[in-house]
């Protein structure tokens, strides 16, 4: 719509659009940016049966693309994006997700992210069940998937900016012939920060018709943006089609519409009385987490802070523009994807610009806010915006900034080592400058941008810091920075974070209330059962293209009378209906768990194949388990002393704080080891976290190449 840009097409692939049938297009798109190969590949019945779609397709395609020795920056590593069969459904809220997978630059195993925006559904409507991006280009390239024209191109667009808020708008305007075209265009971009750090995120766009502007949702965990930019891909654009209620061509549209209308009514009736997500989004959690001592403060030392009131829900409700349908896909009336409009930037290269800030979400408030001791909403918004446009994961950035702040206060870092950054807790200006350094690729930002695990090594080797202390306080597992819940008082959640496949992200299991608050899973066996069921259940959302929030962030009042209220049985039944109605594959609730179990076990074997996956990789840092420092112990001395008396069988009266800390640590770490044994047993794994051949056979995932990997380690 703007003056048309010159498009230097480097490669072109015409294709016949495969129509969507029962949620699938039955072909995937392969693109190699090294040699400009572009190809259509069939989706087999085996893939649909065993891997379903979304994260399942990602893992299968990636498995076939890489070698055992592939590292994140090798050409054969891929960024794979797949929407899943139910993604693109409009009738049932929360059904427009894309799932991204790649070998992570920080964990060196597979990372996967579940992201909103319109890209995944429109990729499907343009004819593709998944997109593989392989190779490393010799120049910056942009991939355009043009559904209406039936062609895929790799292009060189030298004038294209890099940072997301500029590039997404530039591409959308450049490629739209009419204003309505903007509705069907979605971009995947990152930014300059992804070029200089290992914590790069991808931004998936959506055209917000009410705002008449572009917004973004992030696939952020584990550095997919870093891999994307390392391939010298600046953007992938899909030009799709106008969306209809029939766009996924469901097997039984009436059944789908019925369950969708029911759920829409439920959101309408109960969200105003429950979480009020439609007004506040996920930051409604800040106050609750603080009340239960679960809100990370000062690098997870503490779980509460009096200043949390400055960054809690009502503050964000006042800042978020109200009354707009803020779903990240059509039909999501829970509408948690809120935004602050017209925010004036005070720092950095875009100082003075008025921008839309997408968010902040709860995790971002915790990471950029309380965990860094920053309780200034404007600073959080500024950090949030720049993280997004630079293509940096807000959770990892906040977590690692809190880590360097603690190192600074502990004397491991100083002004000389940080290049003049006074990284005390609460210094928002220093945090912002650290972020801008990542965007520019300068100074201490280059060190911090490598993530917590790498910094531990650097600080020990170059600054002589105590490696044991660094290991204890760096809140990462497998190399991924932990998301924003305190797990010290919930053994099950310690497992919920650390026994994950990709790293400590709460999308596998969030068991704190069941465990710590309601004491519903007291024994190791109970916890192991929860650490079997919930990761499998939540994995299923990623196979199909669903959001998790519609499962348990609005709840029918009758749920409390159900036999297993934590599972929200009525909503599980909804998903059985939606999946069956879309795909025509009649399933039961047990089938859903089996689908996930096959993919989940496959992913664990994939981790082993890449050199991770074992018991030692599932150990959390002690900061996530108990009090590392005297300051932490003494801040909650009454609680810990009581535990020593009642649980450990030690009288704390005559002990020093150090002695009490040691006794508590021995107890807690021992319990964690017992939990691992129970969970591995429940999952059908060896005590070293390797899926057994019997388990793989039972799940029908005992493919020769999978068995071959497992046999190496038995």
């Amino acid at each position: 719509m703007t003056d048309k840009i010159t498009r230097h097409v480097l490669a072109e692939f015409p294709y016949q659009r495969s129509p969507v049938e029962r949620g699938y297009t039955n072909q995937t798109l392969y693109i190699n940016v090294s040699d400009y190969t572009i190809a259509a590949r069939p989706v087999t019945d085996f893939m649909k049966e065993k891997f379903i779609g979304g994260r399942g397709f990602d893992l299968w395609l990636l498995w076939n693309a890489v070698k055992d020795t592939t590292r994140w920056n090798d050409p054969e590593n891929e960024v794979v994006i797949s929407p899943g069969p139910c993604s693109g459904v409009t009738q049932y809220p929360g059904s427009g997700k894309s799932i991204v997978a790649t070998i992570s630059p920080t964990t060196h195993v597979v990372t996967d992210c579940n992201v909103g925006g319109h890209f995944g559904p429109q990729l499907k409507f343009a004819g593709w069940d998944a997109l593989e991006l392989q190779g490393i280009a010799d120049r910056d390239v942009i991939v355009v998937i043009d559904g209406p024209a039936g062609k895929v191109t790799i292009e060189e667009l030298p004038e294209a900016p890099t940072d997301t808020h500029l590039l997404g708008a530039w591409l959308t305007e450049a490629l739209a012939e009419t204003p309505e075209d903007r509705y069907v265009i979605s971009t995947v971009t990152t930014g300059t920060g992804a070029e200089h750090t290992l914590i790069g995120c991808l931004n998936f766009s959506l055209f917000d018709r009410k705002r008449n502007d572009i917004r973004y949702k992030q696939a952020a965990r584990g550095g997919p943006g870093t891999v994307f930019r390392h391939k010298r891909i600046k953007a992938v654009v899909v030009i799709g089609f106008p969306v209809k209620g029939t766009s996924v061509a469901p097997a039984d549209p009436e059944r789908l519409a019925r369950v969708g209308a029911k759920m829409q009514r439920e959101v309408h009736e109960y969200d105003p009385k429950q979480n009020r997500m439609r007004n506040r989004g996920t930051p409604y959690l800040v106050h609750i987490m603080n009340a239960y001592d679960l809100l990370p403060v000062h690098n997870f030392k503490f779980g509460a802070h009096p200043d949390h009131v400055k960054i809690m829900a009502d503050v964000w409700e006042a800042r978020f523009t109200q009354g707009l349908p803020d779903g990240c896909w059509y039909g999501c009336t829970l509408a948690c994807a809120h935004a602050v409009d017209g925010f004036e930037l005070r720092t950095g290269p875009y100082q003075g610009q008025r921008v839309i800030v997408d968010g902040p979400e709860y995790e971002t408030v915790g990471a950029l806010g309380s965990d860094c001791g920053i309780f200034d909403p404007d600073a959080i918004l500024e950090l949030n915006f720049y993280c997004d446009t630079y293509g940096i994961d807000t959770i990892s950035f906040g977590n690692l900034t809190a880590f360097v702040m603690e190192c600074y206060e502990a004397g491991i870092l100083n002004l000389e080592r940080t290049g003049g950054l006074d990284l005390h807790f609460g210094n928002a200006a220093a945090a912002l400058e650290l972020l801008h350094q990542m965007g520019r690729g300068e100074g201490f930002g280059l060190i911090a941008g490598q993530g917590v695990r790498r910094m531990k090594q650097i600080f020990a080797e170059e600054y002589g810091a105590d490696p044991a202390f660094l290991w204890d306080i760096g809140v990462e597992v497998k190399g991924m920075e932990q998301s924003m819940y305190m797990s010290k008082e919930s053994l099950a959640q310690q497992g919920g974070y650390a026994l994950t496949n990709k790293g400590p992200q709460h999308d596998e299991a969030w068991l704190i209330f069941m465990d710590q608050v309601n004491n519903q899973i007291p024994t190791f066996e109970d916890k192991a059962e929860a650490l079997h069921y919930f990761p499998m259940w939540r994995t299923w959302f990623g196979l199909c293209g669903f959001c998790k929030l519609l499962w348990n962030d609005v709840i029918p009042p009758s749920n409390k009378y159900s036999q297993e209220p934590a599972k929200i049985p009525e909503h599980v039944a909804n998903y059985v209906e939606v999946f069956s109605a879309v795909t025509g594959r009649e399933v039961t609730k047990e089938d859903l768990i089996r689908m996930s179990e096959a993919v989940y076990n496959f992913q664990r074997v994939f981790n082993w194949r890449l050199g991770g996956g074992s018991r030692k990789d599932d150990i959390p840092p002690y900061r996530a388990v108990g009090p590392v420092t005297k300051e932490e112990y003494e801040s909650r001395q009454e609680r810990y002393d009581k535990q020593l008396r009642e649980l450990v069988g030690v009288d704390p009266t005559s002990l020093t704080t150090e002695e009490k800390m040691a006794a508590l640590r021995q107890y807690r770490e021992g319990r964690y080891q017992q939990l691992m044994d129970a969970v591995y047993k429940r999952r059908g794994w060896t005590p070293n976290a390797l899926p057994t051949l019997e388990k793989l056979h039972e799940l029908g995932i005992d493919l020769p190449e999978v068995v071959e990997v497992v046999k190496r380690y038995l």
Binding site: Q91, G245, P253, A257, G260, A261, Q264, H268, G331, T333
Partner: protein, 140 residues
């Protein structure tokens, strides 16, 4: 002033002629599922469900497919509708209906055809400044 449908519950005898007329007028079928007015029996009489043109659905629609026309009537622009059911779920009066095959909503547009065929004169077209009048007049 908006020309609005109103319902007099004292007069309704439950003949349901309005449902048949509406479905026939807009979908060429007598099937009640295709009617934009629905009569339900309650203790001591009948109640009607139909759109009172309050317009709350307009803000909920993510695709700008709902709008108020020059006469003040809320309408569905089918070409823009994404079939998301948001308006169906969020109508305060449960008066937004949908075609389950296409997932396209439909609603009363105050055409007045049902008024003509009601044997009990329970329906009328009324000039009113806004929807609150209908709510009061019709006991919805």
């Amino acid at each position: 002033m908006i020309k609005l449908l109103t319902f007099n519950r004292e007069r309704c005898t439950g003949a349901r002629e309005c449902e048949r007329t509406c479905a026939q007028t807009w979908f060429k079928t007598p099937a009640v599922e295709c009617s934009s007015i629905r009569i339900r029996e309650v203790e001591g009489g009948f109640r009607a469900t139909f759109c009172i043109q309050c317009g709350e659905c307009i803000a909920v629609c993510p695709a700008n497919a709902l709008y108020r026309d020059k006469q003040g009537i809320v309408r569905v622009r089918k070409a823009d509708c994404v079939g998301c059911m948001s308006c169906v779920g969020f109508c305060p009066y449960a008066a937004m209906f949908y075609d389950p095959q296409e997932a396209v909503p439909f609603k009363c547009v105050s055409c007045g055809q049902c008024v003509k065929t009601c044997p009990a004169q329970a329906l009328a077209m009324t000039e009113a400044p806004d929807a609150t009048q209908v709510e009061a007049l019709s006991g919805i």
